[in-house]
Symmetry: C2
Subunit: 367 residues, 2 copies
């Protein structure tokens, strides 16, 4: 088992990564400080629950815990205030008290939603994340929890740190290949941000990662989580440094918004966005090799690096402007300086961004 | 103007108390750090809004702020997830951003609801409290924000500190007399907890307080807020000391629950509860003069200190057991040791509490 500590003073917590971790869930809950006399609430979705929930419940009960489960339909539509209130009702009926905890078993939607319940039930109770996707290695570290408002995503939420993240690699074995690649986009992103060696390591070990080799995957998740944890430790509430984590996300979010959420996977969208940021870097005078290396790394993980030709630049630009409220034609972007180093540039011209979108349709091979 | 600082490290904030403060609301918003380019959201209720809202809006606009207002129906029923989502919709449509702030103009319901919006809109934005009741001197200090769930009060919420509390004594002039007394119950409570001199001061100046004499009221609110702020500074998240603030609340909440919320005012209920706690103190061996002095202080503020005879002990006991989940016949109470000093006793017998309820029906004069 690999363990990392996210260092946030009195809100510090461990991330455990390894195979077979869920077998000791009872002991982990004790380690996290949850008393057996207080009920636990398991939140999962309709895809993940059939695979692991019954086992988890019975292990917790064997350990003396009272457990109640709440299953949401899988998919982004469940990240709503309606689901939130339903889970609150389950929690109250089950008698959760101030020493209780919410355990999120699933991907990002389950983690964000269950985390917001934990953050606000009786003004905050225990919260454990059990991510079951690679992508969730990113969302489960950092304490961003939220639900969507019909008018805008992630608009209602909190910064609320879990008491523990438990990453059982066995739960990743059933992931479809496209989901694996999508998750690896956030992994390699952490290398591109601050760790050149790790970025190259990802390319060298791409086939092992795609095959979910436990040794390679365990190392990659440990490095990915560590890098994110280091950034969070400096800037928990996104006042400055944390913004670097948005590499590839400005263009990526626009692609997701324009295509309709769920058509392009999050990791695929930010992969194209990272290729775009590297093109933008070249336009701002950085070496073109940054773009070439970035594309080569992303491609090795079977990720897209070009924009399908049916995307409209105007629509993408409009989505970006809406997302970030840029003023007077100047946009803010996370731009690579080299592989493993980035800067936040806040006076990128709209024209340059539009040119990059056009170029993203032409460069490389279509996917 | 009197000013206090609530000392919570990077979450510290000032409480300003005085007459005519709302005339400088624009400058106060600048002092609180709200940039004029980010829209402000005013939340008020149907009772308070007609009195002060238009003036507040125009003063803010004169100062260059963009302002949007949301008015809820007055009363506890508005402290719901439904109102919460409606306010969120107003905030999103008005384009509130991460530098925006929510300003709560009203009593406890408005403060709790608007505070929970501020705590969770885009994971937390600015929050200013403008309490318009005496009772709200208590709820506006301490950062407890919440909405009710249909199954239980205050079940959904957060600890979220305002950036400023602005107490304009002029807004208290329209309060009905019963509301004035109810608010003063929490004021004198702060003296009973930790400040003997202040408790006696309240009795000596009772008539000035009841007449809303600005000098007396300003001092009383300053002391009340200061004492609460000192407790919060030691125990922001209610892990220990903060529990002393519940003096009179165990019996008080039961009276409110049994009578139906709104029939007995909160201050009236905890006044009876504080008399009960003093009776309990006598039963546990403390001097009977504590009870006599407590009753004299509360009575001087026109507050009730006995239980009307139609209340049923069984119902009250059931409400208390439900509220606090006491185990094996032992209950936790905040008990006075003397005027100005309390202890938390966690093995009070159910029998003793029941006897106190019976005695509360007999002691003193009916109200």
């Amino acid at each position: 088992m690999r363990s990392i500590t996210v260092d946030l003073g009195e809100r510090s917590y461990p991330i455990h990564i390894g195979s077979g971790l869920l077998q000791n869930i009872g002991a982990r809950c004790v380690e996290a400080g949850y008393p057996v006399r207080s009920p636990l609430l398991l939140v999962s979705d309709s895809s993940v629950a059939p695979l692991y929930l019954a086992d988890l419940e019975s292990r917790l009960r064997e350990h003396g815990y009272t457990v109640v489960s709440h299953i949401i339909p899988s998919g982004e539509a469940s990240k709503s205030l309606t689901s939130y209130e339903e889970i609150m009702t389950t929690a109250i009926k089950a008698g959760l008290d101030r020493s209780s905890a919410v355990i999120a078993l699933g991907g990002g939607v389950v983690g964000d939603l269950a985390g917001f319940v934990a953050a606000t039930y009786m003004r905050g109770i225990g919260f454990m994340q059990i991510p079951t996707t690679i992508l969730a290695h990113d969302s489960s570290v950092g304490g961003k929890v939220a639900v969507n408002h019909p008018l805008a995503k992630n608009m209602i939420g909190a910064f609320y740190q879990p008491s523990m993240v438990l990453y059982d690699l066995d739960t990743l074995s059933t992931l479809p290949q496209r989901q694996v690649s999508s998750g690896l986009a956030e992994v390699v992103k952490h290398g591109l941000l601050v760790d050149r060696d790790f970025a190259y390591w990802c390319r060298e070990h791409a086939s092992e990662l795609l095959e979910l080799n436990p040794e390679a995957l365990g190392y990659a998740l440990e490095r990915g989580c560590s890098i994110k944890a280091d950034v969070i430790a400096v800037d928990e509430r996104e006042q400055g440094l944390r913004a670097i984590l948005n590499l590839g996300h400005t263009i990526g979010h626009a692609i997701e918004a324009v295509s309709g959420y769920g058509v392009v996977l999050h990791g695929e969208a930010i992969s194209i966005g990272m290729a775009g940021a590297a093109l933008l870097a070249h336009k701002l005078g950085r070496d073109k090799s940054i773009y070439e290396e970035t594309v080569s790394m992303l491609s090795s993980l079977s990720l897209p690096v070009t924009l399908p030709s049916h995307y409209d630049e105007d629509e993408l630009m409009a989505a970006m402007m809406h997302d970030k409220k840029f003023k007077e034609g100047k946009m803010t972007f996370v731009i690579p300086n080299s592989i493993g180093s980035v800067s936040i540039i806040n006076d990128v011209s709209e024209t340059a961004v539009r040119e990059v979108l056009t170029q993203l349709k032409k460069e490389g091979s279509p996917w």
